[in-house]
Symmetry: C2
Subunit: 398 residues, 2 copies
């Protein structure tokens, strides 16, 4: 339809929105016969349904009226205090008034876009980066500046003064990055926060998967390291991967002047995060439940990851390389240069296998098209082996 | 602090944010000794706590894993179908794919700002209008064009071709408007939708209070009238006032091409609305619970409204006039021209009474400062009479 014939006019940002590749793929993967490595869904086997049910019961029975009433934009005070204490374990010394509760960490990305991005503002992102963040930020029309990565993740030395000039922030996922599954070493973390402090570039540290480490050594967060180095760090966290994503609960930790602007933005965005959900999640976590729950989730993810790596070792040709994540949900695959991930996907779907091609994860002008992302968490061992064997065969035939 | 000394740069929209008058007032009204007519909170006496508790239990016990998993951006299909059927009673013929579930209707305002407003775009709003909507839209930097109102609410004839030129939409609250409590007559509704159809101005019909009518005759919504007249109508609804606001659940009804853009925007904004909450609310409403519940809420609000109107008749001088709402939560007061609502508030707070002064509800350049908004729903009869007596005395002394 010609847009001039419409009885309404969309904003320029809305006119630029095009249907997302991922959405279209996910529609196909809803067919039951598809073996889908495309999803970013956590395993429902890790959801503590009964514990959550009891928590909602307790809250509604003991404080039903306040749980169902409007609440403060900043979030439920005891939950803010819990988050502050939890993050302080890392040496970051977070206070409750530096914590803002949000409706899932995707909302944090939207609010940070509103806070920092003018049309044309430079924004630094890893190449590749999390697609959901690129979608959020893009509504505010930034100019993306890609920071190169290698097999160790983001390369701090690539954050040159030239690249960083005028950047409103750098967005980074240091643990088991989505999409690559890579983790930054302590040396790179330290180098990154020092550079950002020197160049006055705020860091948005997105850490949805940090608690899902099942191999290697835990590394300190950019928040704690950055505070010591004099960098401005804004840390995003979520209950989606440690409890359940359907609750839509996350948080932002930031210096107080930034929290105070974000509170105004949050008020205009959705007033506040659901009171009942915040109170119930606080009930779940307040007495240390995660310490007993998380090891089970980690074991589950480790096992799933192992099935996939094992099948890849068996079925993928030598011309292909891939990451071996220490946690999280994703494996990143580098195909031979002549194979395009999107074209491989088209053929894979004919054989009832799905994944996400790599190109959309690149914000810059030169996406590396010979890549793809595999998720291993929600597929059975049998189907993982079957699907990877099919993919291996398709790659060999390409 | 000089903004040039900060190690970060906010966007222009964020730099323009100033602390909201309402927020500052609400801080004062948290003191227990304050009789507050300032709040926009519904009465917790109207929250069906037990019914909601049972619904969460049923959902978590029968479908816990899917209730806690990510869900579709459009919303939970049975709830979309319920909303479509509920709104179709009015003759609007709404289909489920015209319904998008949102995290409270404040989020709908944010998403519509993203969809329609470029910096400098004209946006038509009633003078006065809902402050939360002005806050939401303002993040997208529109140019507000105020549409005059009188004792019958918005004046359709004031929507001239000149005023409407280039307007992205008109935002209107036809039932018991926040802040005035006024309701549009059928004649005005019909005239409004016809003008908007002719001028090709989309209508955003915000109707949070429509089900809370306790006097007068129910009027058809702009959605049904507008569809017949060929106008583009986007209707916002919420479960905040018929069930409970702490759930953060609302919906948008719009033509399919608009819903489809809004789905992309919603995905970037917060992925989707909490699955568990949607399923639980569907459990609550699916078998007609609201038909037995709402009469109790209406009776409660009618009684509260009566206490306040009675006290105003007794204590306010003849120089003051006010609205007599047929539903909802608010009474709007016109003071003598020499009394400024903000100055009256300052003196009222010294006497432990609070309300919201009228000026902030005006988006245009000439706010009517001799006005104020009173909310009657959460204060006891005794405190209503005490507070109104104090206000009456202060007005007489002014």
């Amino acid at each position: 339809m010609d847009s001039y014939s419409l009885p309404y006019t969309f904003s320029q940002r809305a006119q630029k929105l095009t249907s997302s590749t991922i959405r279209e793929i996910l529609k196909v993967t809803e067919r039951p016969e598809i073996i889908s490595f495309a999803g970013g869904l956590p395993s429902p086997k890790g959801f503590p349904v009964e514990v959550i049910n009891k928590a909602f019961d307790r809250v509604l029975q003991n404080s039903g009226m306040s749980a169902l009433q409007y609440g403060p934009t900043e979030g439920y005070a005891p939950l803010r205090a819990w988050v502050a204490e939890d993050l302080s374990k890392d040496g970051a010394n977070v206070t409750p008034d530096e914590v803002l509760i949000v409706s899932g960490s995707q909302q944090a990305l939207d609010m940070l876009g509103k806070l920092f991005i003018d049309p044309g503002s430079n924004v630094l992102v890893e190449a590749p980066s999390y697609l959901g963040a690129l979608q959020s930020f893009s509504l505010f029309e930034p100019n993306y500046v890609a920071v190169p990565t290698d097999e160790g993740g983001l390369i701090p030395e690539a954050l040159t003064a030239e690249r960083a000039a005028g950047a409103r922030f750098i967005y980074a996922l240091p643990n088991f990055q989505n999409p690559t599954g890579l983790t930054l070493s302590l040396e790179r973390r330290q180098a990154l926060v020092e550079r950002c402090a020197a160049l006055q570039v705020p860091i948005i540290e997105d850490d949805p998967y940090g608690e899902l480490r099942y191999a290697g050594q835990a590394q300190p967060g950019l928040l704690g390291l950055g505070r010591k180095a004099g960098a401005t760090v804004i840390r995003l966290g979520t209950f989606s991967k440690v409890l359940a994503p359907g609750l839509r609960l996350g948080y932002i930790v930031a210096p107080k002047p930034i929290v105070s602007k974000l509170v105004q933005i949050k008020q205009a965005t959705d007033l506040h995060t659901a009171t009942l959900t915040q109170m119930a999640v606080y009930e779940v976590v307040k007495d240390g439940f995660l310490a007993t729950h998380l090891p089970k989730v980690r074991d589950l993810y480790k096992e799933q990851c192992g099935y996939m790596l094992d099948a890849m070792d068996q079925h993928f040709p030598d011309t292909v390389s891939w990451t071996r994540p220490e946690g999280g949900m994703f494996i990143w695959v580098n195909l031979p240069a002549h194979i395009d991930g999107s074209q491989l996907l088209a053929r894979a779907i004919e054989r009832n296998v799905a994944f996400v091609p790599g190109a959309p994860f690149y914000a810059g002008p030169n996406p590396q098209a010979n890549t793809l992302r595999l998720s291993f968490v929600t597929v059975s061992e049998e189907k993982i082996r079957e699907g990877i064997a099919i993919l291996g065969k398709l790659i060999k035939e390409s």
